[in-house]
């Protein structure tokens, strides 16, 4: 059940295009530090660990903890070592580590296959691997290769801010709980949604989003930087990026849409939105914009949808926006179409900034 180094390596190589590690969950005793906290050992940080934590963090890979220890004692020790701030949602208690990883997964809203778990104890790795097959369980012995394996293809502005963005989300979430009413909460955020034609500067982030986004991704098509570069030059394609800003700050570039334009018909090949903005009610805005734009140009609009085990939400988005099934795609997907009979209004609580 446990993945060996070479398996992991070949796994990562094989799925290089799709497999992205977004979070590394660390054990503490004999992993982050040498020695066992509970046994009052003289604890020493593992050599090179701070570099690894900081580097992962700067790449936008979240560090977290699954450790069986007393919470307060362990946190105090992390503070003493000066590394407390690098960990989000640390799970330090006596519960099963598979449960800890489940909690972290839910907090971050990512897939199990985007999580790596590093522990010196074979028992703990097996327990996690048994419950969560897709988690990449690694022995601490492979720590030297971690950076090489997990390095993202691109490091964008969004990457280095990712931990802060999760922390901002936490504040938003607390406020949401306090306000209790979703509509009022959304109004209170003072959301600005900005849609722009993608420029060369956006392409790394666009490629990153096509690789990282699973749930709110209509087709899962991924394009290389070079392909994207050709697309923004092409007169027959439109590539849009969307950014979301609220009173707490920017969520960064969080949405991408790519349209193939034929004289009568526009076809949406790509529509995706970062899962972080899922509950902001902005998912449909980019789609609405493209519907209205196609309508203005006197075209009909089609959209491709390729189902996966996670992206039903995008199908619902299309169907509830009034799209109907119009045929099958050769790749197993569905072609949807919309008559664009009328202009679609935008949600009132979102301030829109649209291209000229």
């Amino acid at each position: 059940m446990e993945h060996t180094f070479s398996q992991i390596e070949s796994d990562l190589k094989e799925k290089k295009q799709k497999k992205v590690i977004k979070c590394v969950v660390w054990d503490l005793d004999d992993t982050i530090w040498q020695g066992v906290l509970l046994e009052n050992d003289q604890l020493v940080l593992r050599e090179g660990i701070v570099d690894i934590l900081k580097t992962l963090d700067s790449w936008g890979i979240i560090n977290s903890i699954a450790s069986k220890n007393n919470y307060d004692d362990a946190i105090r020790m992390l503070e003493r070592f000066g590394i407390r701030e690098y960990f989000l949602y640390p799970q330090i208690h006596w519960d099963l580590k598979s449960n800890s990883i489940q909690k972290i997964k839910e907090k971050l809203n990512i897939g199990m296959d985007a999580i790596a778990f590093i522990d010196d104890q074979p028992f703990e790795r097996d327990e996690v691997a048994f419950v969560h097959e897709q988690v990449n369980c690694l022995d601490v012995g492979s720590i030297g290769q971690v950076l090489e394996w997990f390095k993202p293809r691109f490091i964008t502005e969004e990457s280095s801010l990712r931990r802060k963005m999760y922390l901002d989300d936490e504040v938003r979430h607390q406020e949401e709980q306090e306000i209790g009413n979703n509509r009022k909460f959304l109004e209170s955020l003072a959301l600005t949604f900005s849609i722009q034609a993608a420029t060369v500067n956006d392409l790394q982030r666009v490629e990153e989003l096509t690789l990282r986004t699973n749930q709110l991704n209509a087709t899962g098509y991924s394009y290389t930087y070079e392909e994207l570069e050709a697309l923004i030059q092409s007169p027959d394609h439109h590539l849009f990026v969307a950014e979301l800003i609220d009173k707490y700050g920017s969520y960064g570039k969080i949405g991408v849409a790519m349209v193939e334009c034929n004289p009568q018909t526009w076809t949406l090949k790509l529509l995706l939105m970062s899962c972080r903005v899922m509950s902001r009610g902005v998912g449909g805005v980019l789609l609405n914009y493209i519907m209205n734009l196609a309508r203005q140009k006197g075209c009909t609009l089609q959209a491709e949808f390729l189902p996966t085990d996670r992206n039903r939400l995008m199908y619902v988005t299309y169907k509830f926006a009034g799209f109907t099934e119009a045929g099958q795609l050769t790749n197993g997907g569905v072609l949807l179409s919309h008559s664009l009979a009328e202009e679609v209004p935008y949600a009132e609580y979102i301030n829109l900034s649209l291209p000229e």
Partner: protein, 85 residues
């Protein structure tokens, strides 16, 4: 088990919607809930999953259209139709 009648179905649906949309926002059984400002696909999917688990039905792709989901009345009728099958 008791047979669920339409009024009960509608009460359960209304309760769920009221909780999600906000207790202080009032709407009738005929009113389009997606025009209340929650035209949000996440909310839509939540609603789909809620209906599937609460009423033990399976909502297929062809059921996913706005008419079925737009008002409490339509939702009630849709659930009845699904349970009949």
């Amino acid at each position: 088990m008791e047979v669920t009648t339409q009024p009960d179905t509608k009460v359960i649906i209304k309760e769920f919607l009221q909780k999600r949309i906000g207790q202080d926002i009032s709407f009738t059984d005929e009113e389009d809930i997606f025009k209340l400002g929650l035209v949000n696909s996440l909310f839509a999917l939540e609603l789909v999953v809620f209906l599937e688990t609460t009423f033990k039905i399976s909502i297929e792709n062809e059921d996913l259209n706005l008419e079925n989901f737009s008002t409490v009345n339509n939702l009630g009728a849709f659930i009845l139709k699904k349970k009949d099958r």
